[in-house]
Amino acid sequence: MLTELLQGADAGGFVIIQDSIRCSGRHLLKSFINAALNREEAVHVLGFEVDEEELKDGLKGSAIDRVHFHNAYTDPLGWTDHPAFTVHQFCLEELTHLVKQSSHSRPATLVIDSLSWILRHHSPIVVCKTLHQLRKGGAVRAIIALLHADMHQKGTEGSVCHLATSVITIAPGMNGDQAVAKITKRSKSGKVMQDEEIFNINKDFTVTVQSKLGPKNTPTEEKELDPTANLTFNLRLSDTERKAKEKLALPFVFSKEKKTALLHSGPGSGRILYEPDSNDDYDQEDPDDDLDV
């Protein structure tokens, strides 16, 4: 599923890459930028956390012109007189204006590095509203954001991820250069798909997916221990013995007619006919007559 997300098939998508201090997600973010550049799209990066050279490091080629880096690293809060991009400009009108003026006809992808920075200076409600409006607005085709999961309260992180169409959570993998990605994708019809993959990122920022773990590690099936083995007596049946066993009539197996008769017993089928025998003491008189009560 990671490769499908990188290919970015659906418009209006909002991908969140959740990382933590143990494993950074910036390399995966650069892979997404790389993939968008290969698709001939214009990429607008709001850089709050790293500066331009560090972000563009490794992304080579002529496609680099299509990356528009909005420098929010040097002066994000507008303390100097001429800030390049401040965090207060994170609202619908400013962002739409920014995107429209730079990319002329190509679909634009907005990359936010990182959303955690913005969430520290704006309330989550405002951030959610802006992101929602951006998605519906149509100025940007897709939004990819980096979110540091350990910086926020669970509710804030949950609310922002609730808006996203796909959430990729990164954890460190077994080897040094491998990482585990847990992906939750929500399609338009409301269907939710989950996946877990091990991947590593090559030098040119393409992603190789090593293997797919299932949504759950199923415990390996133990070989069924055959209880009839290793015994001093024989529990198995040979073919002739099995045939003889099936031929044996069970004690309470009745014929079909008798079964139907028993199942649907009609009225009056339980009559008892009694013929007094010579041995029976059948006396008409009441035997209790001579009792003196």
Binding site: G190, K191, K216
Partner: protein, 400 residues
Amino acid sequence: MAAPMSGVGKPSVTSFQKKTRSKLISIAGTRPSVQNGQLLVSTGVTSLDYLLGGGLAVGTVLLIEDRYDSYSRMIFKYFLAEGVVCRHELFVAAAQDNPDDILQELPAPILDDIAIHKPAEQPRLSSEPQESLDAMKIAWRYQNLPKVQSALASSCRFGHYYDVSKTMEPEIRQAAKFHRFYVPEHPTQSSSTHSTMPESYSALLKSLQEVIHREGFDLAAPMSNSRNILRIGLHSLGSALWGDDLCCHDNPKNGHSLTTFLYGLRALLRSSLSVAVVTVPSHLIQDRALMGSITRLCDNAIALESFKGSERETNPLYKDYHGLLYVRQIPHLNCLASKLPDHKDLAFKLKRKQFTIERLHLPPDLSETVSRVSRGELSGAAAVASACGSGTSGNKHLDF
């Protein structure tokens, strides 16, 4: 017993009135409850109607909690589709999706009345003994006994079935009257610290009140022959897009805005002929006490837990179902106690033509190596169960 009643501008009239004509309103798509005479509407899902005691009572709220909003959205659409088919009026409010888009996705009703609902739960008729006798070799005396009924259904059908793979035809959809409230269309001022509720909630309440009054759903309006029911659907209340920080912060500033809104909503519903279905992303609300008070304020409350993405998806016990359903609350309206469902372990599955809710049966555990998950472990720590199962499964068949 007659009590004298002093009416304004009337001579003293006793409260004893002769029964001149029946006071029961008969509205299409509703029926009185067999338990307490309340007017009921169908939720669109027959099994859910059975769980709620025959249907959703007019004037009450149904709360649906769901983590990923996939199945609760399905029930939401069933509810609205049922309203269209019964010719009720609809009011949809949403913050994330446009209400028009939600209405485009309604499932198509299956209009031929022949039950797709196969009579599998009826006892096998004894008019066909031949084939049935061959079925059981040893236990043939039990053949004519009825099978265990695991699907919840009552004998009389109330509500319609829908085909999820098709959407409702535009002609049927446009026949229904539809009111909408889309939060981005009602811009709020940023400085609203003086109100107890975010602006979107108060705007929604005002809009609801206005619709109820204008279209004549008020109970105070004179009873006429053509009354109708208003079905209200509120999608994803409490999420950040409504302007409420209930889900965002652990200690929300306006912690009681949603509860105040629900209180106002219930007051509106009780005095009008309307029903509401509300979905709330409860997994985002960190304060469990607040979630408890939200549940209390809604009359009916159910929670859906889908198996997608949890360890339970591959558990062989759950392979037939899509998730578990918990009934959190059933109201007792005008009576002392409500009829809770007998079975607490319920599971649901969404088939193309039906959303069924069934009692969860544990199948007989015949294999030695299947890890024996007890009832306590099913609901709670699944991780512990899997650890126990995989670790000691080698010795399992030797335990006594």
